[in-house]
């Protein structure tokens, strides 16, 4: 099959499927991906049905063909060239087809060969400004017969899985005032959940649920409270909540038994100047648990109160069951941008344990309730205040991984400090609203790690040093492997138990994406993006 020219065929393009591909698709006329398929993702280890493979956020593959004894034989099987640079997508793989997304783009690829089946593109408005982030998209969501994609101009779009034709497009929020969507949606029973960007624009953050069939909004959770939530509203001085930020740009996790959605919330605005927003600034830098039927808040846990360093809690929460306090509990782990690893009870939101996992100089530690005991003189100043971690944090948006086989959490770690500055700031809708900035320390003073910690305690199991701060997500597999990438262009595999390096490949450009794994014809594949290229490896 000839690959369509991406530069000339940017219309929904229904192509004739090869007979082998059609056979692989199975139920092509009915509902391809019912909710139950995603809930029971463990029954089909070869698929990658949602952002983190299953709702737990673990980014763990049960596939085990590739192991420590044969990973040295990994070879490129095919590559796909994206139309845009700097890709951060986590692909989906459903019935032999891979779905990838970019900034206002989506494509379906034959997962065996990389051949393009259809492309979709929504024009980026000429007056769209990205406030503090690149033109990226981290992935889509599938449910029923649709692929759901968020767009930079603030829309959630449903595409027909078979053709890429648009079924509906619902405006989530107005890009003119600073909103955007870069994260992958999360599709649940009959809803599609999405967050937004905008933390450098002084937006009012939100998490939205849309009816999967009609595209109509079902509920909205405002991450910055209004007067109807008095307790949280009073954590903002004056009228500062009106420009409070709290974006939600990284995909959450879901517990189908508890019917709770878990989602991380970003920084307060303005980022580096907290003078006008005295108080804890709820629900910024928190994880919230929402009732998926109503969107109502069940509980929240704030990692960084009154943040002045841009330490969003926009991470994938990782759900797992473990023994804590002498009994088996439903837990949620978060390696946070602020440098601390937290374990929470995901039924109640109660703090279980936590400790620093990277260099940090802003806190003496966590108290019994998990609140950071802030060191004096760590806020940004006019002259600059040296603090670890820098604004990009001890980890960033890319995913950690939890392996139920090793019961270890694998965290991509960034070790870098910066001088933080505070500046006066006026608010104008749709314009940068940072209130300061930082000067990063030099590259010679920065490094990274893949750090394995015991998931229920945060105690270190092993560390694998990286030359530069981590830039990619982590995948762990039943083959006892941990796979990730580096800013220097490496894609690599480590032994999941020991951290011993087993294999690496030079991709030629920065790897800043989440890896996945899937299976076709009884063979396991690893896929990860490196800048403009999607690399697919196999034995």
């Amino acid at each position: 099959m000839k690959r369509p020219n991406l530069h000339h065929c940017w219309v929904p393009l229904a192509l004739t499927l090869t007979s082998s591909l059609a056979a692989a698709q199975g139920n092509v006329d009915g509902v391809k991906v019912p909710f139950e398929r995603i809930v029971n993702a463990g029954r089909e280890p070869g698929s990658w049905l949602t952002y983190s493979r299953d709702y737990s956020g673990a980014r763990y593959s049960p596939l085990s063909e590739i192991t420590a004894s044969n990973v040295q034989n990994l070879r490129i099987k095919w590559m796909y060239q994206f139309p845009d640079a700097g890709n951060e997508v986590s692909p989906l793989v459903v019935d032999g087809i891979m779905y990838v997304t970019g900034p206002n783009t989506a494509s379906a690829l034959d997962a065996r060969t990389g051949r393009v089946l259809w492309n979709w593109k929504r024009p980026i408005p000429a007056d769209f400004h990205a406030l503090g982030f690149g033109h990226v998209n981290r992935g889509g969501a599938v449910l029923g017969s649709n692929l759901y994609v968020g767009t930079l101009d603030g829309y959630l779009v449903a595409l027909d899985l078979k053709s890429g034709a648009e079924r509906w497009a619902s405006q989530v929020a107005d890009y003119h005032v600073g909103y955007s969507i870069t994260g992958a949606p999360l599709a649940l029973e009959n809803k599609v959940i999405t967050g937004v960007s905008g933390g450098e624009g002084g937006v009012r953050g939100l998490i939205d649920a849309y009816d999967a069939e009609s595209g109509k909004r079902v509920w909205r959770f405002w991450t910055i409270p209004g007067p109807d939530d008095q307790r949280a509203f009073h954590t903002w001085a004056g009228d500062s909540a009106q420009t409070g930020g709290g974006p939600t740009w990284v995909t959450g996790a879901y517990d189908p038994e508890l019917k709770l959605l878990y989602w991380g919330i970003g920084n307060p605005s303005p980022d580096w100047n907290g003078d006008a927003r005295a108080g804890d600034n709820l629900y910024t830098d928190s994880v919230v648990a929402l009732d998926t039927e109503t969107g109502r808040l069940r509980w929240h846990f704030q990692f960084t109160a009154h943040d002045t360093h841009d330490w969003d809690a926009c991470h994938v929460p990782v759900l797992f069951d473990g023994t804590a306090g002498g009994h088996r509990r439903k837990l949620l782990a978060n390696a946070n941008r602020n440098g601390f690893y937290y374990v929470l009870d995901r039924e109640s939101g109660a703090f279980v344990t936590g400790q620093a996992y990277s260099k940090q100089t802003w806190s003496k530690g966590l108290d019994a309730k998990g609140r950071a005991m802030v060191q004096p003189h760590t806020d940004p100043t006019l002259e600059g205040t040296l603090v670890w971690p820098n604004m990009n944090g001890a980890t960033l948006w890319f995913s950690p991984s939890y392996s139920p086989a090793t019961e270890l959490m694998y965290v991509p770690v960034r070790i870098k400090g910066a001088r933080y500055f505070k500046r006066a700031m006026d608010f104008k809708p749709g314009i940068f609203y940072p209130g300061g900035g930082e000067d990063e320390l030099s590259a010679l003073e920065a490094s990274g790690e893949i750090r394995a910690v015991h998931a229920t305690t945060g105690a270190v199991a092993w560390r694998f040093p990286l030359l530069t701060p981590a830039s990619s997500g982590v995948l762990s597999t039943a083959g006892n492997l941990v796979l990730s990438g580096t800013d220097e262009g490496n894609v690599f595999a480590l032994d999941a138990m020991s951290g011993k390096p087993l294999w690496d490949f030079e991709a030629g450009s920065a790897v800043e994406a989440n890896p996945i794994s899937y299976e076709l014809d009884n063979h396991q594949y690893i896929a990860i993006s490196a800048d403009r290229v999607l690399l697919v490896f196999g034995l």
């Binding site: 503090g132 870069t182 920084n267 841009d310 990009n392 006026d426 800043e512």
Partner: protein, 264 residues
């Protein structure tokens, strides 16, 4: 929410630039000196810059997600007109346009950004012509390329005066180990067979390192194959000229290098 691919501008490009010995264009530690415009324009420009640009370019324009602006030549904006157009139009998709700035705002921003890369013209007591002779005869060309002459082991010194002040150049000649470009790193690797490979780090990733030896040859080494890899910040093969030149000769050499600038 700073996120996304900001670091592609730093590590990879920085590493690549090491190989090209562009370290002589590393951020100047020297204070920029404004030579045109008014103080109020500069103040307005700084204020606008700190409100709108520092998220990507750093508080002093030293770079971050966006490129370092504290250099005399901006690749995308060689002239003030080009810089003005760049601020107005942005660089899609990474840099937003500045349509919300007034014309006066843009002029002030151009003024301020240009000031970040200016290097002061300082009074020179030496003779550039005699300095040029010293440069050609005292071994400098054995390691540096200047105006097309010499050997490309150390940083290129062509038009050095645009990037470095006379004060800095003198300090680097007298005490080179204390005045290295920020991305310069001398390394020493020891192979499993005992062989020692020493030179400038040209490139490095988590699993390998490329070293430029004194001969100018490159060695690409797997870290797993090495018995030791020592990184030696502050070390350089460049000798001090404090004793080997007289004060007058030092003045001459400084004058030669500091006046090495683009023709006006």
């Amino acid at each position: 929410m700073m996120h996304a691919a900001w670091w592609r501008f730093t590590a990879i490009l920085m590493m690549a630039s090491l190989g090209a010995l562009a370290m002589s264009q590393a951020p100047s530690p020297e204070k920029a000196v404004d030579s045109s415009g008014t103080a109020s324009s500069l103040g307005l420009g700084q204020s606008l810059f700190e409100r709108n640009c520092v998220v990507c370019h750093g508080i002093g324009g030293t770079g971050g997600r966006g490129p370092n602006l504290t250099r005399s030549r901006l690749a995308r904006a060689p002239t003030d007109e080009a810089l003005q157009a760049l601020i107005e139009n942005g660089i899609p998709p990474e840099m937003p346009d500045g349509t919300f700035f007034t014309e006066a705002d843009v002029r002030a921003l151009v003024h301020y950004v240009r000031s970040l890369g200016l290097v002061a013209t300082q009074p020179l007591t030496g003779d550039p012509a005699r300095g040029g002779e010293l440069f050609a005869t005292r071994g400098c060309l054995a390691c540096h390329i200047e105006s097309g002459r010499g050997h490309g082991f150390g940083p290129e010194l062509t038009q050095l005066g645009e990037r470095r002040s006379a004060t800095y150049i003198r300090a680097a000649l007298v005490e080179p180990q204390a005045h290295l470009p920020s991305d310069f790193l001398w390394v020493r690797a020891r192979a499993a067979n005992g062989e020692v490979i020493e030179g400038i780090r040209a490139n490095e990733d988590t699993f390998s390192i490329q070293i430029k030896e004194r001969s100018g040859d490159y060695r690409s080494l797997r870290k797993a194959d090495l018995a030791a890899l020592d990184k030696l910040p502050g070390q350089t093969p460049m000798p001090s000229f404090d004793k080997s030149l007289t004060p007058a000769q030092l003045d001459d050499l400084v004058a030669y290098l500091a006046t090495s600038r683009d023709a006006p």
